[in-house]
Symmetry: C2
Subunit: 379 residues, 2 copies
């Protein structure tokens, strides 16, 4: 059988154990570890596909829940699929809708069959199940699909999480059965289990027995302290097969990207860079810069003198601040471009450091320059 | 003396009398007749400078009133001038602030010295005069500056308009005196006079006696029926010197651009293409298309099959409609790009028709295709 998604291990960092690799998809090769910009509604907010290519984004994430609600997966299928609809010919990963059903929608009712909920847009009564999530993602035509999972909140009680991962495993099996296009689209399973080591192990054991082409770790970066997240990674990643990509969902702060890579993660996604950009906050080599601050009013230098992105090569903090204060969307384009470029460049640097067997040194250098210490590793 | 702005007449259309020419500026040559996109707050809303260049915009307009209020002309001067501040190395025209003082601000008090008013942003008490308008525009460093004028509303009583144009002429003289950089920046005067032929003549006679490098016609497209505007052009344009550019302020509907060119106008500006784009309305070769309409929900064709712009080459009506309905600013980027490209392409077509001595035929063909007839020539 032709497999849509394959992982190629290039080397392991002798200093950290991080992996340098490639994920091969029907829409191109992704160098890993990688960060995936989020295009929730079939667009990475404010960015054109060409701009994403200029910063060498190889894969973006789009949201099944949002596209199911609007404009509808059937419409996108009639448009020729999500790639064509949004003019993006590189890889796309779609989530399963599970996380949004649990975080955005109203009036959820969970049964073994699936989840009944009301649309956060118009209150329509809707239903998602493993089979429906596959139908939607098959219609969208993403390169990587995610299995439909139940996402327990953090913290959640042990018994609840145990019942939840067992259901998630049964749903994963149903997703495999329902997936109509395995030769075109790779389906990843999601390991859950909260902060309970034995439940993470149970979930990983169940799911890896089913032979998915990739595995995600879900239920992290949902409010828990970062040391807990790192500890979960420490004992969960080794449970995943080394020949397949490992995806840490919802993580995008610079420190957590590095720490995740050190722990063997290959793929990350997060709305952080685009969301904070819209508030006028940027990531730079010296740490956070809130462009709106009065200190930048007459700063005619770039956001980050160390950055070679379009924004930093052409525009001053004073100009960007003016645009943001005047509610000009071009200002948000410039901060969004910069933040995404910053994380994609960070991942290039991480890959280079793995190549040179010095990712732990790189981490320490980056943290020192970024102004992070052991007590302050949140972005 | 070196003159910053010169006009080169290439030819006159034998069929219509329209002029094909070039305006030479310190930041490049502008083929005329031309349309100038409006970048009110030092940015053409949603567009990058590179995008404006891709559609071959040679000159943009920016607003003295807005930049005076925010971020302030002194800050822009310290940034190295408006071109550098906004990363635009082609020509810029700045208006005088007169129109905005009369249309946007509050608590106006007009004296011979100037106009006292309150900022529409924060209520600050401010003062603009001919000297101040020159100081601001000299600080901005625009290629073409506009003389500070009084803008009577439409309709206005004869005696009021007469007193107003006489003041505008005295203010124009003061602008000439106050202009500190005539070798770097060209100063255009604005002919006013409402719909009173003798007052237009008096205003034009006064101002042309002062030898400005270009002349604008102001006080039109302010609510009067288009036939009145065309009649004013019919008797005003011939009063202007043929060796200098003629600029019709605030006009940007496709029909009025063509009718203005036929009457000898060389330059136009208007917020229309960018403003309607933000409401999801587009100009196409077949007339207006309101992209938000349900009829476009499953239309996978382009906004305009006859258009070769970035938007039409890459995106469907269905996708753009989805973006607009989902409040994604990329949708407004796409409609803005298209509308500006549409008007810039229209002006290229107008110039070609002048070259071929067939602008009247072109007008009739355009109007027929655009769905305009004699009773419906408003956009």
């Amino acid at each position: 059988m032709i497999v849509a998604i394959t992982y190629e291990l290039i080397k392991v960092c002798k200093q950290s154990g991080a992996r340098l690799g490639r994920v091969h998809t029907p829409h191109g090769v992704i160098e890993t570890p990688c960060f995936m910009p989020v295009g929730t509604q079939a667009t990475v907010k404010t960015m054109s596909p060409e701009e994403l290519k200029t910063m060498d984004a190889r894969i973006i994430l789009s949201n099944t829940y949002h596209l199911f609600l609007r404009p509808g997966h059937e419409l996108i299928a009639r448009a020729g699929g999500l790639h064509k609809f949004m003019n993006w010919d590189r890889a796309i990963l779609t989530d399963s809708g599970g996380f949004q059903v649990f975080s955005l929608s109203e009036m959820r009712k969970i049964t073994e069959e699936g989840v009944q909920f009301r649309s956060h847009l118009n209150g329509d009564k809707l239903f998602l199940s493993p089979e429906k999530a596959m139908e939607i993602q098959n219609a969208l035509g993403s390169d990587i699909m995610m299995a439909f999972d139940e996402c327990p909140p953090f913290p959640a009680e042990y018994g609840y999480v145990k019942r939840s991962i067992e259901r998630t495993s049964r749903w994963a099996e149903r997703c495999l059965q329902a997936h109509a296009r395995p030769e075109d689209q790779g389906l990843f399973a999601i390991v859950q289990g909260g902060e309970y080591e034995d439940l993470r192990k149970q979930s990983a054991t169940d799911l890896t027995s089913m032979d998915f082409p990739g595995y995600a770790i879900g239920g992290l970066s949902v409010g828990e302290p970062k040391p807990i997240m790192y500890r979960v990674l420490d004992y969960t990643v080794p449970l995943l097969p080394s020949g397949k990509p490992r995806y840490l969902m919802g993580v995008g702060s610079p420190d957590a990207l590095i720490e995740g890579a050190i722990r063997g993660i290959d793929m990350f996604d997060c709305v952080l860079p685009t969301r904070i950009a819209r508030n006028g906050t940027t990531m730079t080599s010296k740490g956070r810069v809130v462009v709106r601050n009065a200190a930048n009013a007459e700063d005619f230098g770039p956001l980050d003198p160390a950055c070679n992105c379009y924004t930093c090569q052409n525009y001053s903090r004073a100009y960007i601040r003016h645009l943001l204060k005047a509610d000009e969307t071009f200002g948000i384009r410039l901060t969004t471009y910069h933040n995404l470029h910053f994380l994609l460049q960070l991942m290039r640097d991480v890959r280079q450091a793995i190549m040179e067997d010095r990712l732990l040194d790189f981490r320490d250098e980056f943290f020192a320059q970024y102004g992070l210490n052991d007590n302050d590793k949140g972005f």
